[in-house]
Amino acid sequence: MYESVIGLEIHAQLLTQSKIFCGCSTRTGDPPNTHVCPVCLGLPGALPVLNRRAVELAAQAAIALGCTIHPTSVFARKNYFYPDLPKGYQISQYDRPLATGGSLQIATGGLAREIGLIRVHLEEDAGKSLHEGFPDSDRFARVDFNRSGVPLIEIVSRPELHSAAEAAEFFSRLRSILVAIGASDGNMEEGSLRCDANVSVRPGGATAMGVKTEIKNLNSFRYVQRALEFELERQTAVLEDGGRVIHETRLWDPAANRTHPMRSKEAADDYRYFPEPDLPPLRIEDAWIERLRASLPELPDARRRRFVASYGLPEYDAGVLTASPALASYFEATAAAAGNAKAASNWIMGELLGLLNERGIGIERAPIAPSALADLIRLVDSGTISGPTAKAVFAAMYTSGRGARAIVDAEGLARVDDEALIARTVAGVLAANERAVRQYHEGKRQTFGFLVGQVMTAMQGRANTEIVNRLVRRALEEGPA
């Protein structure tokens, strides 16, 4: 048996308006090279000036992850050549990062574990190279520097993850935290959140690490899981065949569902790091850290626990509802306005998320506001409409954007409590179903349910079920044997 050892390196784009060392916009989706200046193009003589907001967001992420923030950290140059790195070095942090330590709790298969973190540091992103897709791509590449100098944090876990599922769970939990505190938008399609994995296997019980490979391009939870499953299996097969794993960087190819070698790391990278002479050390006073700590919103874990404790929700429901801050807030607003948390949770997790997911719409753009959903819940709780009617009203609310009360009034959907009307309908149904009535009196009592159903159908599902039950029973008992 082989044991898997996995460590993750996650890069998250910080949610600033401007780049980390210059005032160019960080906005995505604009034409190439429209957010560039001498600093982020690496023109000679240009000097970087640190963006305070980037430092604050990085520090808040570090606080949320329980890291120790260092009063002094140092920017360093990581030197390498690539067309999308115009200065010939990336400004990063090396031997004195912003923060070290900390941990993140994961839970897989009902088992909670703390995964240690090594560090959190600040750095700038590189530009973007386009290698393919143009008529002369066999000879040329294109470079867009809009991304160059966008602020990132790199978060490095300890090699303490032992399965692909654990790694995916870690990545997912980390994303939830970064999004909840507003440090990153966590958008993986646009590259705001990226994951690389260091992976090795070793015989069960061994303490020495096996030779690792680094897997790049894991920009979704599913890719993390599938790529690591593939790689762990591949390495195990190599070792079982008596071979050896080569220390290399491998690229995940989602189309082929496999990893393939990118470059060998046998000759260790030599980035010739040295302290960035253009930036004095970054100093963060305790008072600043405390202000940042105080302004942190509630973290997903704490919110989940509170949902269980104060709303009485099952663990599973609380987990689903706290998956994103927007969803959690939607639930809280609905529960408060409706005065019924359990019903709010049921409607959101059932009908609402069902429709939204089906249509690929985020909760932020749900066509039903929390107050509108709460109105619907109150109509059910007050007995104005029946459960089945409520589902129809909900569907109408979703498509028309109208309020529950307006739909109920306009369509005449309010529950019918009129005993005389119900009694007349019951009499009619019984008269039309003589055979079922006879069977009831012969002792086949289940025809009772059938007759109630017939009455409800006759009244378009709007009759008060309690009254229908009572009147059908009375009519049967009083009627001719």
Partner: protein
């Protein structure tokens, strides 16, 4: 770090910096770099016990507010480039094999 620079050390550094050096240059730079190293050793030998450490600036890195400033017009920037693709990109020789 070595106490002196060999020609192989210089060759390795030159490779990282994408520089092509002649044998004579390897020899020259090995000698000059060794000289710099010796100077650094002299500085290190100075008795600094009791002298507080200083770094570039005592107050730390100055910071700016997170405000977007105008970027440089793209045409002006691309005019400086040796190659552009006509579609707003910088154009460079293909890097992937």
């Amino acid at each position: 770090m070595p106490r002196s620079f060999s020609r192989d050390d210089v060759r390795a550094i030159a490779r990282l910096a994408r520089l092509e050096l002649s044998e004579a240059e390897l020899e020259l730079f090995a000698r000059q770099l060794t000289g710099i190293l010796e100077y650094a050793d002299q500085v290190r030998d100075v008795d600094t016990a009791g002298v507080a450490g200083v770094s570039a600036a005592g107050t730390g890195a100055p910071m700016r507010d997170d405000e977007v400033q105008p970027s440089i017009p793209r045409d002006d920037i691309l005019r400086q480039a040796p190659g552009t693709a006509g579609s707003g990109f910088f154009k460079v020789p293909r890097v992937l094999s």
